[in-house]
Assembly symmetry: C2
Homo-oligomer: 126 residues x 2
DNA sequence: CCTTGCCTTGACGCCGGTGTCAGGGCATAC
DNA sequence: GTATGCCCTGACACCGGCGTCAAGGCAAGG
């Protein structure tokens, strides 16, 4: 399978696949032409990568998951290294959630203050 | 007050204040030397700007708040334009929260799967 | 032979708030 | 005069996951 086909099957672009390769996530064989040659299993790997990226992992966090899949495991997240990354990311997400929750509360306070302010003005100018 | 003093009083840097000015948020007078001259009220404005940035607003969202403060209001968020921006940002934050919550749930599922997987392996190799 | 369409590598652009460096002016104190 | 320390403008760097363009090779069909 050439890069264009894998890209289409994975719902992404050749550029993206080359980017993953540049970061050590995939290592296709090369044809005599120099063309990248992927076997069917790589589709799963690419899907795993894209799922992790969509969940906010960085490319450099993803390597353990890929290695885990390649080692023959049924899922990329069952290996110790993956678990460590998962824990780290979970803590990070919890931090963001806390922060965003604070922001949300301040926004709501400001909105309700603004509404009170408008009502007060109406009472002054009846 | 020169830019260095205002920067220190606001807990930031001259570079940052020039950036705000570049984006139309502050408009200091100029001394004969060309030095920026700020009056004391600008400290409040800068504090408002920094509070909004810390809550995830972009510099271009912040102008209504500054204008509102300058118009003599007790707070930057009581004017209609500010309220519109607040609502937009609140919706955005709600979106992020939803997304992050989904991510968090997936992370926890994967972690618990990994633990189950390890336990299963222990049972197989007693 | 020429076109078409895939492939290759390399490199710049984006976004946004700020750090940082370059190169130069002004002010105050010695 | 000069040393110090502030000020000025302008411009590049950062981060990260790509998009996109450039310039060229290879394969297959007319």
């Amino acid at each position: 399978m050439l890069i264009g086909e894998l890209a289409e099957r994975a719902g992404t672009s050749p550029r993206t696949l080359r980017y993953y390769e540049e970061h050590g996530l995939i290592r296709p064989r090369r044809d005599a032409n120099g063309y990248r040659q992927y076997d069917d299993g790589e589709l799963r790997v690419v899907n795993e990568i894209r799922a992790l990226l969509a969940d906010g992992f960085g490319v450099d966090d993803i390597k353990p998951f890929v290695d885990c899949l390649r080692a023959g495991n049924t899922a990329g997240h069952v290996c110790p290294d993956s678990v460590a990354v998962l824990r780290r990311r979970l803590a990070e997400v919890d931090g963001y959630l806390e922060q965003l929750t604070g922001v949300r509360q301040r926004l709501r306070e400001q909105l309700s203050q603004a509404i009170e302010h408008r009502e007060a003005r109406c009472l002054l100018n009846p």
